[in-house]
Symmetry: C3
């Protein structure tokens, strides 16, 4: 591995660390900036995905749709009654396409309610296409495979 | 640290990321390939370990036994009613032997049942001997120290 | 990034991995050694912090106070009825001061009781000032932002 590749690996780790941190801090503009201009974001129950069923819980097939979705969440979050905490495991490269790197990482999200009680909200796996965009790594396609589908108030924040 | 050592560190991280990912994906052949030809795998309640009690929940003292165990799990998992998700913390080198590196990493495993409810299944600490095997890092001895010993259906998958 | 900077990054990761591991192993002298001679440690509910309220749950404004606190915990832990397990996400550098690096990392702590049942105890975010001290990274200021404030027996161990 060259020094460049080593530095890239840290940049990849930072992308995932930032992804979770920015959601949890409610910094959604900075979070959107982790996505490439051409991008997609979807949340699919793991079971549907494995059976090849198309049904997504959230399906943003381009950036404008994702931005709209985030705008709606922000409006809703004025009445926000919980906070999020993402724990994301070590990202793992599982493939290479011509212009994209395939990366997966397991995650768990904890939510804390107004009484200060923290509960596991969801667990799952990110399976993403990462591209270099002006010298930075960004998400081109983010697929959130959701283990948990019995999640109430699912869309209060991105996963 | 030399560049080689830096690259090795990422290879070590990848070993742990792969360990969890392959169990969660049910790819047990690839998972077995993370173990050296001569290897051991055991699951011991943390309390027993700290008191020096020998009682292991799972004790595979050589590769053939581990392969048998995995074969049995696969058979059982045809009727599998849950999915797993491993979250593994940053691996930490805590010692060096002549031909092996001692590494530990904390973990949590979440299980999701058929109703789509996700629960914490177990937490604990891996304490492992890692060896270089044909240019790759592999587990020679994997010790799963289990905090939780009130786990139902413990042996449905490896931890 | 230079090779030195790359090695530094692993040293930073090791600092966080060690932080959690040493608490969980009850090795509090080694844990204290992760703090600089001049240091502060506090636990603040996230909500208080965001509203600018000063109320900390734990406030050690210098090393001697932190050492006292740990001594008291050790005494209490002779009658310890639980074990801890920290899962800490990838550390993320979010700022640089003249002589300190600002780093944050999400965490979850699981506790296991004497019946062997493991539960989520707390989740939150570390927001720290890291300094180089005799060639090693150490915590100068550690701020534990606690999502969960409905935690019983909070002070049984550090977070």
């Amino acid at each position: 591995m060259t020094e460049g590749a080593l530095a890239d690996r840290f940049a990849l780790y930072d992308l995932y660390a930032g992804y979770g941190a920015l959601i949890d801090a409610g910094e959604f503009d900075a979070w959107l900036d982790l996505f490439a201009d051409t991008c997609a974001y979807q949340i699919v129950p793991r079971e549907n995905y494995e059976r090849g069923l198309p049904a997504a819980l959230v399906f943003c097939d381009r950036r404008a749709v994702l931005e709209d979705r985030i705008r709606a969440l922000r409006e809703a979050n004025k009445y926000n009654i919980h906070s999020d905490r993402h724990l994301i495991g070590l990202p793992r490269i599982f493939g290479q396409e011509e212009d994209a790197t395939l990366v997966e990482a397991p995650f768990a999200v904890y939510q804390t309610d107004q009484e200060g009680e923290t509960r596991l909200f969801a667990a799952g796996l990110y399976r993403d296409r990462i591209v270099a965009d002006a010298g930075r790594f960004k998400f081109r396609d983010k697929l959130v495979l959701l283990d948990s589908f019995a999640v109430p108030s699912l869309l209060a924040t991105p996963l």
